[in-house]
């Protein structure tokens, strides 16, 4: 097989996405609600989030029926340091096909198109996250795909999340199982608590903090054998945008730590307003980290956020998270790698620092 155009079902065509992301958000919400509604949690990415992510040069093959968007599979180019080697990679997500257009094996064609774009842009691989729920269509599809095409896709490792419930009533109402609803209700008073601490030195991020934040992050990720690299321009867009927010902990005129989140909604039986901690870095010890996380939670609650999540990645401040009522969830999600060719050798990701998209 070459990289040429593939035969498609009449009227369907894959081309690079062009649009304002409103249609991508609408497609994802429609398809994922129809596929997973009331049975499992899934993110509801809105157009603002997608513009933030996709606007920066994503590889974006999209399936169109005429002018109508009916499928997507995007990947965001990044640099990933693996051991001492830095590779051009992508963060792949948003693999979605309208059920009415699946008969032409559309998802496989989108995967092929993304792999072709990987090869054309010299990317070594794309990382993606797949739910560990074996009943989900995504898990069934990708696990079978990996078995049939082990050169194309590998399951790398599992990870869990840190979860902080800020509004137990809303989160319990959205729970997809009776056990989850009951558990959150019963433990609600404990889960929602945020110990009162002075917030001395904690303030919102300002652009002047960027060089120091970049240094802190570089020092923090240097301890990992798999770590996304954050050039200053990319970090600036990550730390402060329409959907992301950052707080810093300052002491003696110097930033000692920062925490960065982005906002999104998760859908269970009903939608929940959530925040995902993407980046954390510090050279502070002890109470300073707990103060910063506590301040973050208070600020998010004031803004109506009901749930805070973080990947259980190396370097996340476990004591500070536990001190603020975050609960570690078991490893349930899979990180997978999609390869454009089969000659990429990887060392095992023992300590990793990634973001979830």
């Amino acid at each position: 097989m070459g990289l040429g155009p593939r035969p498609m079902v009449s009227g369907l065509a894959i081309r690079d996405y062009a649009g304002d992301c409103e249609d991508v958000a609408a497609l994802g919400q429609k398809v994922w609600t129809a596929t997973y509604g009331n049975t499992m949690w899934f993110p509801l990415w809105d157009a603002a989030f997608l513009r933030w992510q996709i606007g920066g040069g994503a590889l974006a093959p999209a399936l169109y029926d005429g002018d109508r968007l009916v499928g997507t599979f995007f990947s965001l180019p990044h640099k990933l340091r693996i051991g001492s080697q830095t590779l051009p990679v992508g963060l792949a997500s948003w693999c979605t096909v309208d059920p009415a257009h699946r008969a032409g094996r559309s998802a496989l064609r989108l995967i092929g198109a993304l792999r072709e774009r990987h090869a054309a842009h010299g990317l070594a691989l794309s990382l993606g996250v797949i739910s560990g729920d074996r009943a989900s269509v995504a898990h069934q599809f990708w696990s079978r795909y990996a078995q049939s095409f082990p050169q194309n896709l590998r399951f790398l490792f599992c990870f869990g999340l840190w979860v902080k419930v800020l509004d137990p009533a809303r989160v319990a109402a959205a729970g997809v199982s009776a056990f989850e609803r009951l558990g959150v209700r019963v433990a609600g008073p404990l889960l929602r608590g945020i110990p009162s601490r002075p917030t001395t030195g904690v303030r919102p991020y300002a652009p002047g903090d960027l060089p120091r934040c970049a240094d802190l992050l570089a020092a923090s990720t240097a301890r990992c054998n798999w770590a996304l690299q954050w050039p200053v321009a990319r970090l600036a867009a990550q730390l402060n945008s329409a959907v992301s927010q950052t707080f810093v902990l300052e002491s003696g005129g110097s930033v000692q730590a920062f925490v960065n989140i982005h906002r999104l909604s998760f859908q269970g039986r009903s939608p929940v307003r959530a925040a995902m901690i993407d980046l954390w870095a510090t050279d502070a010890r002890g109470a300073g980290s707990a103060r910063l996380i506590g301040h973050l939670c208070q600020a998010l609650r004031r803004d109506g956020v009901e749930l805070v999540l973080a990947m259980r990645a190396h370097g996340m401040p476990a004591p500070a998270l536990l001190a603020n009522g975050f609960v570690p969830q078991p490893a349930h999600h899979h990180v997978v790698a999609l390869f454009p060719r089969d000659d990429v050798a990887l060392i095992e990701p023992k300590t990793w620092h990634l973001i979830m998209r």
Partner: protein, 104 residues
């Protein structure tokens, strides 16, 4: 598993070349009936082609996986997914016999 209990690869190898396409088409159609959860009476509908019978990507990778196991096929070289470009069980059987099994 429907049909003849002798492994399909053994049957293909033991058969005259002219009989092999029909044996493999029959096997592929049996797998499709299971994947689609259709009963035997709908076998004739499979001749309409993969798109027309609603074969989606999940079903296609399931079919691919079953064929690799049953026919002892190595994963396609360089991630080649040429099987997915075949439009019917007949085309797919012809492709597998000539390109993957060397049994034409």
């Amino acid at each position: 598993m429907r049909g003849n209990v002798t492994p399909v690869l053994d049957r293909l190898r033991a058969s005259p070349p002219d009989d092999r396409p029909a044996i493999l088409v029959d096997f592929i159609e049996g797998q499709l009936l299971e994947i689609l959860n259709w009963d035997e009476s709908r076998r004739k509908d499979l001749a309409r082609g993969f798109v027309q019978i609603g074969l989606d990507s999940l079903m296609a990778v399931e079919l691919q996986f079953r064929l690799q196991k049953a026919l002892k096929l190595a994963p396609p070289p360089e991630g080649d997914d040429a099987e997915f470009e075949m439009s019917s069980a007949t085309d797919l059987a012809d492709f597998l016999l000539s390109r993957r099994l060397n049994l034409r």
